[in-house]
């Protein structure tokens, strides 16, 4: 339960930081975040 709460706080914090970013930074971050699932597979290429 405690872990879940901590994760919720971290997620909320990250979302808040993201909301405060400029449009340009949002695009930059969004592009990178969209590729996160591919990072481990790419490391093996």
């Amino acid at each position: 339960m405690k872990t879940l709460r901590v994760l919720t706080y971290i997620t909320a914090g990250l979302l808040l930081v993201y909301a405060l970013l400029s449009e340009s930074r949002k695009r930059y971050v969004k592009n990178l975040v969209s590729q996160v699932p591919d990072l481990i597979p790419r490391y093996f290429v």
Partner: protein
Amino acid sequence: MKDYDVIVIGAGVGGLCAGALLAHQGRRVLVVEQSNRVGGCCSTYDHDGYKIDIGASIIEFAEVINWAFQRMGTSIYEEVDLVPVDPTFTAKLHDGSEISFPLDLKETEHVIAEVAPEDLDGWKRYAETIEGFLTAALDGFFTTPASTFGDIINLFRNTPDLLKYGSLFASSYEDVIRRYFTNEKIIEAFSFHSFYAGLPPALLPGHFGMLPYSEHHGVHYSKGGMISIPKGFQKCGERVGMEVRFECTVDKVLVENGRASGVQLADGTRITSDIVVSNINARKLYMDMVDPQYISPIAQRGIRSYRYSMATPMLYLCLNSEPALKDHHTLMTRPMDQINDYWFNKYEKGIFPAEQFGILSWTTKSDPGLAPKGHHIIAVTLAPGAYRLAGTTWDAAKENLKAEIIKYLEAKYLPGLRDQIVHAIFSTPVDFERELLSPEGAIYALRQDLFNSLMFRPAARSRHVKGLYLAGASTHPGGGVPTVSSSGIIAADLISKYEQ
């Protein structure tokens, strides 16, 4: 005994550089090239007496390319006739005004002071930061493998100064430029540079913010056309026995017991070797030319996840008289927001308008010998063009687009253009793909954002097939003439280390 020690697939700059360096290690090297000339995207062809550059139209960081020549006991200055390009570029802004950036840094300060006095301090801070970054990066980044976490740790251990510039990697190109400059004219002048690395300012990693500054380390054109640079590598390799075979398309990389054993050509011929160096697009290599049984499922997923880099339609203009330009290198720019908007709302939606921005490269300004006497050539690098156009195809739209773009260029940048044209050749992403076998016409092989770079870009020493190495834009440090030369150095060094 194998036919050769090393077979290099593709006579692009990276392949020739690796091949020449390996021949200098005493290895028997064969370079196989599908077309009838060297250079790939950095090449030149003859059209009715006009020598036309296919893609690259200038080089920066000649010193980086020179490192490869120096390892062969010569120098780029001995092998290639380089002409300095000064001013480094002239920006023709969307409002019709112009800014020229001289090679000399002091003179550039004067230009900034005149156009945007409020940004003079920003320019000085920018120049100091980027100079520091370049000093650190040039030391290690360009010629050190970056395929594993260990490589990255070594990279930073060997060049700890790079750590000071970590914020550049965490920001976008746009962030970096806007951090130092506030004047919209200056920002606009530096906007198009992000496409030198294949992405718009909003998506390109911030360390590429070095590009507008790095031009002050020298911009050069090679006499005889850009092909003179790969030809320089070819000459160096051939002096020590390297062979180059043209019009040889490789179909497959042969693998025996998990180790590369040569290549199979499209006509079925097999050529054997102990080592294979691939200078072609890595996604194509691993998806089409290597038996999938040798590639782990997780790596197959990684390979499929790569997106090809942008394609750039080119318009080659052969003229009967001097164009209305001042300098070799002119950027037709747009405000940074419009360039980002173009990427997200036009390029990504398959729209290619006639109202173009890009580069006017007046090559005969630096080398009049490229065209018949009194005639001239401009290679126009247009805005990024999607491989798939919305509602039409490049082949169907080509002629109409060409006419519309020429009309637009004449109205906005090159008065009297249509009366000067002897030949106008429009090369689309599809033409690029057909001629260079570059998938989707990609000019930098794969995208170059942070998560397609360093250890997330295909490794220079294959993890799947022993004896298979990668050079060229697909692997670290990425696309661009100096960087693919570096990839050739890295491949040759790795082979020297692992293949006795």
